[in-house]
Amino acid sequence: MNAKKRIKVIIAKPGLDGHDRGAKVVTMGLRDEGMEVIYTGLRQTPEMIAKATVEEQPDVVGLSCLSGAHNYLFTEVVEQLKAKGMGDVIVIGGGNIPKEDVPYLTEHGVSAVFAGGSSVKDIANFIRGKLNA
């Protein structure tokens, strides 16, 4: 059996939203799935998230937002990652995201949106599928 590289994930809270139950549950759940997960804490600007991505070189950046500012914040993170040459990193999102906003996000570089009620297993499987891991 090949020793596979451990999948590395950053879970980040862009913007000013303080609701981080979901971010923490996903952080802890993906760790249970054997991944290395860093949780940034609250109030991260897109610049801060891009900087952390450059430093940590994760496979995935997971963004959580429940304030309604996701369209701006998520796509801004994607832009900042591209600008820093990190456009290959998989970006996924979650939080209070109305269904009608999902197409906009997926057209702008967010690979998938996991809304309330998603299971951590599904998120883990999605990540593994994307990475062929």
Binding site: G15, L16, D17, K24, T27, D32, G68, G117
Partner: protein, 586 residues
């Protein structure tokens, strides 16, 4: 000691229970091929020490298990005026939590609501930049202005927001609610400045500030300064209100944010009361007489879950525990001081609402309101069923939530009996058990130096994250079931989408433009105002902040009157009080 049951009959019950377990129950379990019964059954043996006066008492009297008030149901007489479309005849006093966009947008929304018959003052939702003390043009505020609530930068925004409240509904005749915590002093200062501008008597001002900063570090996240200096700001508010605004509630202590963030029932109960103890201690340390202020402490709902049998017990326990704390620990003398004043009519919690088949949230809310009534509150079937679909509720969902509460009250007559479950073997035993566990946790927090210690060392934050994680694991294993989410969601089930026939109450177009307009407005004010006066008043705020003994509010009021912005005032305070950076709690 007079107990309900004599020893002989208890022995008999114990013997008969054992016989039942070995006989009737075992036969039933064998038939289903299971070893442990999925049902509990309680007997007098479970409350062998039950004493009515000690455990229950009369409604509105110590220890308040039977209810916070002797008689608490408003509007129980004949309803006149026929059909109250849109909530004119609501059961609860506080206006619906609302606000979006610019002050002008929310003003227009309030005006429409008043035209539809809504009474009373506003229950103001602020946007996140306001809640964390940033101006609308701060780079960190980008994308967030006017989203979760109305934007507030300067006194000019309050002047506009309160335009619909004049004459018969002037500030001295209505009660406002403000969901504001870290920068409470700025919002309070703006309200005082507005009332003075209108020449009103400050002692007549009514309202409730949320001002519960401790739970922000634990659960809600809109902190600015570290816990200790934040409690100093709380002290300044409390002392100022005590002197100048005797009709204003200086705090609304919240448990439900912790519950929403993952806290277990006992954690939320214990941490809420630990936080409340810290706030009372602040008042005592400031030299205030306990009875002069505790009566104006309010509790936002404690939150809950769908396990309503246990939630009812937790509410009964909460009233009894608060009464004990206030009477025995702080030696308050007035009965009113011992009362846990809480809007607790719904006890299932918004975190149980689902985006899948969202109409089911109405069923959940009705269960919450039903149980809330049995737990001693005026029922309310909150939140409206479309809560998880996006910010702001539809008018239809609001109508149905209000109707449900009225059906529970007027048709089902659930409030006809106070504490109807008192004396039940199960409810009394479980109320005792929850109380016992909560005291143990409160004592643990006390040993860490109270809430501030248990926040500084990350204990409370970790406890919530671990509980949330445990719950998620149970969901994924199917040990906890949420209908339509992790079960009963197969192809044979159909999606039921609510039909929003009446236009969405918040104008999405206005909300999208709010940031640009708000920033332009703020820039206009910065050009127009007397900037020398702003500088001088901000200097005075900084000096007041630097001296821990000084009350910061008078200087803040002067700065607000000079149209200093919330960001400018908070920046001065950040310099002197420091900034909180979140503990790496997981």
């Amino acid at each position: 000691m007079s107990k309900n049951f004599n020893q002989d009959s208890l022995k008999d019950i114990k013997r008969r229970r054992e016989e039942w377990e070995k006989g009737t129950l075992k036969q039933a379990l064998d038939r289903f091929k299971i070893t442990k019964s999925p049902n509990e059954f309680y007997t007098p043996f479970d409350i062998a020490d039950f004493d009515f006066a000690d455990k229950v008492g009369f409604p509105g009297e110590y220890p308040f298990t039977a209810g916070a008030y002797a008689s608490s149901v408003p509007g129980s007489g004949p309803v006149t005026g026929g059909y109250h479309i849109g909530g004119g005849g609501g059961l609860v006093r506080a206006g619906r939590y609302s606000g979006y966009g610019t002050a002008e947008d929310t003003r227009d929304y309030y005006t429409r609501e008043i035209a539809r018959g809504r009474k009373g003052g506003p229950n103001v939702a602020f946007d996140l930049p306001t809640q964390v003390g940033l101006d609308s043009d701060d780079p960190q505020a980008k994308g967030e202005v006017g989203r979760t609530g109305v934007a507030f930068d300067t006194l000019a925004d309050f002047e506009v927001l309160y335009e619909p409240f004049k004459g018969d509904t002037d500030l001295d005749k209505i009660a406002s609610n403000w969901t504001i915590n870290a920068p409470t002093i700025v919002i309070l200062a703006a309200y005082v400045a507005l009332a003075e501008q209108r020449g009103l008597d400050l002692t007549k001002l009514k309202g409730t500030l949320q001002n519960d900063i401790l739970k922000e570090y634990i659960a809600r996240g809109t902190y600015i300064f570290p816990p200790k200096p934040s409690l100093r700001l709380f002290r300044d508010c409390l002392v100022y209100c005590n002197e100048k605004l005797p009709s204003l509630n200086p705090i609304s202590i919240s448990g439900y944010h912790m519950r929403e963030a993952g806290a277990s029932r006992v954690q939320a109960l214990a941490f809420t009361l630990s936080n409340a103890i810290s706030y009372v201690q602040v008042g005592v340390d400031a030299g205030l007489d306990v009875d002069s202020f505790i009566g104006r402490f309010t509790f936002n709902t404690l939150g809950g879950s769908m396990e309503v049998l246990k939630e009812i017990c937790a509410r009964r326990a909460s009233r009894r525990m608060w009464a004990k704390i206030v009477k025995e620990k702080f030696h308050a003398k007035n009965q009113k001081s011992w009362t846990l004043r809480e809007a607790g009519g719904f006890i299932t919690g918004a975190w149980n609402c689902t985006t899948q088949r969202p109409m089911n949230n109405l069923t959940r809310a009705v269960i919450g309101g039903f149980s809330g009534a049995l737990a001693g509150y005026i029922p309310s079937a909150e939140p409206p069923y479309d809560e998880p679909l996006g910010l702001g509720w539809s008018i239809e969902a609001q109508q149905l939530a209000e109707d449900a509460a009225k059906i529970l009250h007027y048709e089902a007559k659930l409030t006809e009996v106070q504490d109807p479950l008192a004396g039940s073997y199960y409810f009394e035993a479980t109320t005792d058990q929850i109380e016992k566990e909560a005291w143990e946790l409160i004592n643990k927090v006390e040993a860490m130096g109270g809430s501030v210690g248990a926040i500084d060392n990350g204990f409370m934050q970790r406890a919530l994250a671990e509980s949330a994680h445990e719950y998620q694991k149970k969901l994924e294993k199917g040990e906890e079931i949420v209908v339509g989410v992790n079960a009963f969601n197969g192809p044979q089930e159909i999606e039921v989408l609510p039909n929003r026939a009446i236009p969405y109450p918040y104008d999405a177009g206005k909300r999208a433009k709010a940031e640009e307009i708000q920033v332009a407005k703020l820039n206009g004010i910065r050009k127009k105002r007397d900037n020398r006066l702003v500088k001088k008043t901000l200097q005075a705020v900084e000096e007041a902040a630097a001296d821990e003994k000084v009350n910061i509010l008078p200087a803040t009021i002067e700065a607000v009157k000079a149209y200093a912005s919330i960001g400018e005032i908070c920046n001065v305070l950040r310099k002197t009080l420091g900034e909180y950076s979140a503990f790496g709690s997981i």
